[in-house]
Symmetry: C2
Subunit: 395 residues, 2 copies
DNA sequence: TATTTTTATTGCCAAGTGGAAAAAATAGGT
DNA sequence: ACCTATTTTTTCCACTTGGCAATAAAAATA
């Protein structure tokens, strides 16, 4: 699969890509600031900018509103959002979620569709259908759509476009990117779903301008994506950010991974439900019931949520102590219940974080499934713009 | 402090530094392999090599022993060990440990000296004395010594050369590198002691050729240094690799950090001694006694060591699950007792490591205090050769 | 001795980048 | 209205770097 990037966006030199990425993520920005942020000379910034301006990817917003005194007025640069569009699809538990976004990651269309089967062929054709459907449904003023990003859970090799192993889909070594390129005609990139969301936050969310941060998702499972030195950790064996399977209590509940006291066995949605069921004896208890019960003041339910909060706080502290991110972003579907344990999370984090690691900022960002699909689409942008490093540094 | 690197070793271009680092760490190596490892063209390798050969930093070992069939024989390149020497000093609990090493990190002199006081002025002058003493004591065939590496525990900013905070020395914001440059006349680099040992392993030990690994030290404290994408983690707030303060048991012993169940409170030397004392009632028990007792088959002592092993195994699993290193190296003074719990470490690691994270290799390397001092000296080499990256990538 | 094979070197070239000077665009003073 | 100071942006030039491809070197083999 030949990547015909040149036809899409002119990023001939490393400086081009650097400038493009900076304008993209740092929003409207002055040339001088681009130069300072990237370390490039102003000459290089001018050149790269001109290329992008001529190709219509960047616009000049005219003199900045707040006049800065005398001197030639600086003019702000920004991406032209409607110059190009990107599709993104994430394979969730029960459904496919798809979006089309513009170059500034603004969502133009969003669609859900139930997942009828987990077979490869069926998933491929349903993703293709969803994309085709969406691509007819948004007002494309001028730009076109060449790229698709797809995220699934499990072990994914992005450079190969292969889903190596997905327990949920029961897939092994599925070359999904290739299959979808054939089916949709779009250049397709495949990524792990948590990493996709992490990249989205890194470029357009709470990770902008920060060189290291972590995105923690709480819900059906508990996972995280870690960004260190500006790049997302992959793990030498494909595992990284598995914060859910840190054990914090040798007497804790059994986890489905086989161990005792994993964070996920204490604080995932199902774990909370199970614990409240066994404490209260209510057998048909749902997630909503559990939250309602706790909010109504039920002691047993509240203590289960508290325990979950402490477990998460300890896990975040382990993360902060080991990796030392500048910021930790908490998100996920479980956030409906977050106010039930946010205080415990913060307290036990603060207690367990070692020395200055406690300065790590913890922010909470509710993210919907649409955000996950948007993450997939943003991976497509990321793939377009991030240059492949040529020289391997071993030192 | 102007870094007059040019006078020492000709590393004018990035390619020079890349080739130099590769030859240094990959031992005797063929030009062709350098080219393959670095991604540089063979022409660039030839050019960089010639510069280094002419300056006497690299030697050609002549045709490789094992003839590889027909064709022009390839010749191995290696660093000339005695072309330059480096001093390294680490500030240990009771003493200063110093070494002088050559360019290939071979130790030429090693010396201990008691630490008479922890005051800044006294430490500075004693380090300077130690270095002066050593520099007269090794047979320098031709190379000279321009650089000194120093490591201390605590929060260190290497680029500033400042010890920001060292609880053990009770220092805050001590510009130790600068003070020592004035005192010794050597270009001095200051680094955290665990990071120093980690860099040593990365370049000359179990981390060679691996892009991510962890070095875990077990002894008076439990810490680790993490290498990801070829660079040592620093932590946004100066804390990283603090594996000792992960909490794995809410009912565990109280740690000096104030929390319960930290790995360090279960598995550090003192923690093990304390636990065995309280189990057996022997008040004057020393570390050697504890080991002897356990080796003699004492049930209580053995179970304390077993518990420590399990705690370390869980901590290593947390590390592997979060960061996903290719390899974990275990070292430290506590290794005298390692055979008492190695099996537990491996078992509980294997049980708790998530999915393929269990493939992470665990190797054991006993490292003496002299190795720590050597680590400091290797940081001086590292500082000489590692080029400062010019462009800041924010994407 | 000629040929083949593998490795190393050299000459040439293209291009990316930085430095410095020039130009552009404004505010403010006279 | 014009000039000057100021700040941002652009242009021009030259340099460095590293890749490509042809060439040389050093063996083994025919």
């Amino acid at each position: 699969m030949e990547r015909r990037r040149a036809a899409e966006i002119p990023l001939d030199t490393p400086a081009d890509a650097l400038v493009c990425g900076t304008i993209l993520t740092q929003g409207p920005i002055l040339r001088g600031d681009v130069s300072r942020l990237t370390g490039l000379s102003s000459a290089a910034v001018t050149r790269a900018t001109r290329t992008l301006l001529e190709a219509g990817y960047v616009v000049e917003l005219g003199p900045t509103g707040a006049r800065a005194g005398s001197g030639r007025p600086a003019s702000l640069l920004d991406m032209r959002a409607d110059r190009e569009f990107f599709a993104g699809v994430t394979v969730a538990t029960q459904e496919l979620v798809g979006v089309v976004i513009d170059l500034k990651a603004g969502v133009r269309v969003a669609r859900h569709r139930p997942l009828s089967s987990r077979g490869v062929a069926s998933v491929v054709s349903e993703i293709a259908d969803l994309v085709a459907e969406m691509s007819g449904e948004f007002p494309r003023s001028s730009g076109s759509m060449h790229r698709l990003g797809v995220t699934v859970s499990g072990d994914v090799d992005r450079s190969l476009g292969v889903a190596q192993y997905s327990p949920f889909l029961q897939w092994r070594n599925v070359p999904l990117a290739h299959l979808l390129e054939n089916e949709t005609g779009l250049i397709t990139v495949l990524e792990n779903n948590v990493r996709g969301l992490t990249i989205a936050e890194q470029w357009f969310g709470a990770g902008v301008g920060v060189s290291s941060f972590a995105l923690v998702t709480i819900g059906a499972g508990i996972g995280s994506g870690l960004v260190v030195n500006g790049s997302v950790l992959t793990g030498a064996h494909g595992v990284a950010g598995e914060i859910g399977h840190i054990s914090i209590d040798p007497l804790g509940p059994q986890c489905r991974c086989g161990c005792r006291g994993c964070v996920e066995a204490i604080a995932s949605d199902q774990a909370i439900i199970d614990q409240i069921r066994s404490e209260t004896g209510i057998s048909g208890l749902t997630g909503a019931d559990a939250i309602a019960l706790a909010k109504s003041g039920d002691i047993a339910a509240r203590s289960v949520f508290s325990r979950a909060g402490r477990a998460i706080g300890l896990a975040l502290a382990a993360l902060a102590n080991l990796v030392g991110p500048e910021r930790i972003v908490i998100s996920g579907e479980g956030l409906a219940a977050l106010d039930l344990f946010e205080e415990e999370v913060r307290q036990s984090f603060a207690a367990q974080a070692f020395a200055t690691a406690a300065q790590c900022e913890i922010v909470i960002r509710p993210l919907s499934f649409e955000h996950w699909a948007r993450g997939a689409a943003i991976v497509a942008i990321h793939d377009l713009i991030t240059p492949e490093t040529k020289n391997r540094r071993i030192i």
